[in-house]
């Protein structure tokens, strides 16, 4: 990535971010695997495995029962087949449903005692040392001075919860968040320490039997993140979860629950990577967001799971259910996603606009190259009066990839004076890929306005010529044009993520021209 080598840190962007982004060059950067001794549950899925996962997480009886009920429901459900994706039958019995680093058993006293392999992993992921200590579970690490991630003179900090295969390995900045009353921890800790909140909200947005993968997740989720923002609190820093699948043949099933109480605000980032392997791996997560009155949640994802190699071997099957419930009046949820990874993506972050004047927004860039397949979009369900939703989806398809936008906009009879605007644009690079749009529009009252627009086009020859003429090579030119095409979405991302995403866009499209 030559263009970036000359880039100087611009105002507001720290050198570290630039370095990090620069390092992203070349092939799939996160393709390594860490050889760590793992503690596995036996392969396969049964009621006993569900009990075992529950036991490993030291869960109370109600949680075990909840999981078992989900497992029973899952047995009765069949895999959905309506998405425009094709993949070989998944053998659900040939998977590990629980794996965690052995070194987690005893809390290390200092970084020296931490499994160096685990530290190496964090270093490769670009997590600062102080945060590494916390993530590795070093005792007293929280008291050590935080170095944070500085940018442009102003301190910019991000609290991280890292999930390694099945378990959350550590959460940073917990103390500081506690001062503000914010609860940010792994969901297993939340089940232990805040059962009243978990019991009240878990499964209230994505019911246990919502869909095949969500039901599976409800039965076997091993860990994930939990966020509670008390009334009137503006979360002092961005919260972030980092997911990594490391072990082979291991499904990752994380569960995220975000509760924004009345008048609160939180911005949440999610990133994910996985090693390069030639067998496909399963990832089925559930994210539930509850926004009470006047609350606002911003959820940003940069999904960079291993996409499989150039011939379509391996990669992650990413079957994710993400849903936000805008319960309170004037609540607002904004989903932003940059989907560049995964062999197969099946993901529809949705908003239920229940409160009057609530707002839902969905900004998405989905890039598929080589043999990747993505079927992604959103659902905006307008139930309350004067609700607003906005969908901006940019699909980019290259190589032999298939990229589908699938979305639903539903205006219920009582959702008077509501408004939706949808824009889906697809860009095709090469003549062997596909770009598809499957929107569902259901309008049941006449005071609401629904507008849907979609276009499909290729990279414009004139634009290419203009760029080439100014000395950019073909790949750089395509990257630049695609970044321009996706600008509206990139701008919706938090600063650091936006930088990374722009670079990812270029990398994902490598080898797609010429």
């Amino acid at each position: 990535m030559t263009a970036l080598d000359q880039t100087e840190a611009k105002e507001g962007v720290d050198q570290e971010t630039v370095d990090k982004v620069r390092n992203l060059g070349g092939k799939y950067k996160y393709g390594w695997e860490t050889e760590i001794e793992m503690d596995y549950a036996p392969k396969g899925l049964s009621a006993d495995i569900v009990r075992l996962i529950s036991e490993k997480n030291e869960e109370p009886q109600w949680m075990t029962d909840w999981r078992l009920a989900a497992y029973e429901r899952w047995l009765q459900k069949s895999e959905p087949d309506w998405a425009m994706v094709e993949y070989p039958q998944i053998d659900f019995q040939n998977q590990y449903y629980y794996a965690r680093p052995k070194s987690m058993d005893v809390k290390p006293k200092s970084l020296d005692e931490v499994d160096p392999k685990l530290l190496e992993t964090y270093a490769k992921l670009g997590i600062p040392l102080k945060e590494q200590m916390i993530l590795a579970g070093v005792e007293g690490a929280d008291e050590a001075p935080a170095e944070g991630r500085t940018g442009g003179g102003e301190e910019r900090r991000v609290a991280v919860d890292a999930v390694f295969d099945s378990v959350s390995v550590g959460t940073t900045f917990q103390k500081e968040l506690e001062k503000a009353g914010v609860i940010f921890c792994s969901i297993s800790e939340a089940i232990k320490n805040h059962p009243e909140l978990v019991q009240k909200y878990l499964g209230s947005v994505v019911p246990v039997s919502d869909n095949y993968y969500a039901t599976l997740n409800s039965a076997v989720f091993s860990d994930g993140s939990f966020v509670y923002i008390p009334p009137g609190v503006r979360c002092p820093m961005e919260l972030s979860t980092y997911f990594r699948i490391n072990a082979e043949n291991t499904g990752q099933f994380e569960r995220t629950l975000i509760i924004a109480d009345k008048g609160s605000y939180v911005s949440y980032l999610e990133g994910c990577t996985a090693p390069q392997r030639d067998t496909a791996q399963l990832h089925a997560a559930v994210v539930e967001i509850i926004a009470e009155e006047d609350a606002e949640v911003k959820y940003s994802t940069v999904q960079n799971w291993f996409p499989g190699d150039e011939d379509g071997k391996g990669g992650i099957y990413n079957f994710v259910t993400k849903r936000a419930d805008c319960r309170g009046d004037r609540s607002k949820v904004m989903w932003t996603q940059v989907e560049t990874g995964s062999a197969v993506t099946w993901k529809y972050p949705s908003c239920i606009l229940r409160g009057n004047e609530s707002q839902g927004e969905f900004y998405s860039i989905a890039i598929t190259n080589n043999h990747q397949q993505a079927d992604t979009g959103t659902k905006m369900i307008h139930l309350g009066k004067n609700t607003r939703s906005r969908i901006v989806s940019k699909g980019i398809s290259a190589g032999q990839a298939q990229n589908t936008y699938r979305g639903l906009v539903s205006m219920h009879p009582k959702a008077k004076n509501s408004r939706n605007y949808t824009q889906c644009d697809s860009l095709l690079i090469g003549d062997k890929c596909g770009a598809h749009t499957v929107p569902y529009i259901e309008v049941k009252n006449n005071s609401s306005r629904v507008e849907h627009e979609a276009t499909t086009s290729k990279v414009d020859d004139d634009q290419m010529f203009y760029c080439r003429q100014r000395g950019l090579d073909e790949e750089e030119a395509v990257a630049l044009i695609v970044n321009g095409f996706a600008k509206e979405v990139l701008q919706a991302l938090p600063m650091e993520f936006a930088m990374e995403a722009q670079q990812l866009v270029a990398i994902s499209l490598e080898g797609s021209v010429g």
Binding site: I429, D431, C433, T437, P439, E451
Partner: protein
């Protein structure tokens, strides 16, 4: 190429098919028999539509698949049939039965017209088309009602166009019996360089299952203007299959007013380079009205153009459905695909459901679709009222303007005028209520 997966049929769908089939007799003999038998197999394999089918999500198929057609009273609008003032070759079917008395002589220069019921030879030009286009149209989305039609329809017209006939062929459908159940299957073949206009009008029957297969050869032109009958309680499932050759033109427009259930399917395939296909529809629904346009356009050649323009005006709980698709096959470069579906909801009870799809496997294309739904623009209404036009009248003008884009798809100015006249009559008749 398309990625829609074949579905294992539900036992209920198969049962429905068997029940329906056992209540009918398969016509025997003649050139059409093999096509009929194949179609029967298709129905047996897929079953009949049920609500769980992806493309029957928004329209209940039960009254269309039932053995007995639900009764529909005959509407006496006392208005002259829509194309009456035009010089045309008229072919009349009463409740699906050919009426020689009311029909014109079937001979006209540049065109051969024959009735399916009377065409018993073993060799016939229509053999290349009958059931063939319908079968091709099943490959991505199943249309069992069309296959059922191919198998069991005993009559219809076979039109072969070799020149440029002086007047349009007009199919006029009369509904007389309250419980009539009609099935007609038409075949049109427009030979190279030939041109024809086909008009269709009338309610046809209490329940009408219609199929029209149109083969448009290179440089040929097919125009189709249809006004579906006004009977309030009638039900119809129509299927228009078209295959277009090089530099050919296909233009179809449908006006639907009233009818408790209408499902109009159009399945077009552009197989020759530089072909042009336009399908348009305007519908007006009041009260117990359910209208469904399901359109599927496949681009399988270079530099073709397709347009889908559908407008729906709905009031008093009427339901409008649009399911449209532009499929661009690999290699169909320079495709220009356009699709618009819009609804105007005149009150809070009406419903619009749309699924405008794009499925694209070629990169050098410009495809777009738009779909909107909303009420009459208050500002425009205010503008007209401030100039002294009463509210109801102003509303009608705005409604006419809303439907214009679809109506303008009719090339012939006089025919366009006749359709606009129909729409205004409908609107102003309801103004008082």
């Amino acid at each position: 190429m398309a990625m829609l997966k074949p579905k294992t049929p539900e036992p209920r769908a198969l049962d429905l098919a068997e029940t329906r089939i056992s209540a009918m007799t398969l016509p025997e003999g003649g050139w059409a028999e093999p096509a009929r038998r194949e179609a029967l197999e298709r129905v047996r394999k897929t079953g009949l539509p049920i609500s769980r089918d992806e493309y029957w999500k928004y329209t209940k198929p039960d009254t269309l698949t039932a053995v007995e057609a639900p009764a529909a009273s005959v509407f006496d609008g006392k208005e002259p049939p829509v194309f009456d003032q035009f010089d045309r070759l008229k072919i009349v079917f009463v409740d699906g039965v050919f009426d020689a008395e009311q029909s014109d002589d079937l001979s006209l220069e540049g065109i051969e017209i024959e009735r399916l019921a009377e065409s018993q030879a073993d060799i016939h030009w229509a053999k290349e088309v009958y059931g063939r286009l319908e079968a091709r149209g099943q490959s991505l989305v199943q249309r069992p009602l069309a296959a059922l039609n191919t198998a069991f329809a005993t009559d219809g017209v076979l039109i072969r166009v070799t020149g440029k006939p002086s007047k349009p062929v007009s199919l006029f459908y009369v509904h007389e019996v309250e419980t009539s159940d009609a099935m007609l299957h038409h075949v049109v073949k427009v030979e190279e360089g030939a041109e024809v206009t086909v008009l269709e009008a009338g309610p046809a029957a209490a329940r009408f299952n219609q199929c029209m297969e149109v083969e448009v050869a290179d440089r040929a032109t097919f125009r189709h203007i249809r006004a579906q009958g006004r009977d309030h309680e009638r039900r119809a499932a129509t299927h228009l299959f078209g295959r277009l050759g090089e530099e050919s033109t296909f233009k179809s427009f449908t006006l639907t007013a009233n009818g408790v259930l209408t499902r109009n399917e159009a399945v077009l395939e552009l197989t020759g380079d530089n072909a042009v296909a336009h399908v348009a529809g305007a519908c007006m629904g009041d009260g117990d009205f359910h209208h469904d346009d399901t359109v599927f356009v496949t681009h399988d050649a270079v530099n073709c153009e397709s347009r889908q323009v559908f407008k729906k005006v709905l009031r008093n709980g009427a339901v409008g459905v649009f399911q449209g698709k532009i499929l661009v096959e690999p290699g169909a470069q320079k495709t220009d695909g356009y699709q618009i579906s819009q609804s105007l909801l005149l009150d809070g009870d009406s419903v619009f459901e749309a699924k405008p799809e794009l499925e694209i496997y070629a990169d050098d294309v410009a495809c777009s679709h738009g779909s909107t739904s909303g009420a009459i623009d208050d500002e425009a209404l205010f503008y007209l009222r401030s100039r002294g036009i009463p509210e109801a009248e102003a509303q009608n003008y705005l409604t006419l303007a809303f439907l214009a884009e679809a109506v303008q798809e009719i090339d012939d100015a006089d025919l366009q005028e006749a359709i606009v006249e129909r729409i205004s009559q409908w609107l102003f008749r309801r103004m008082a209520t």
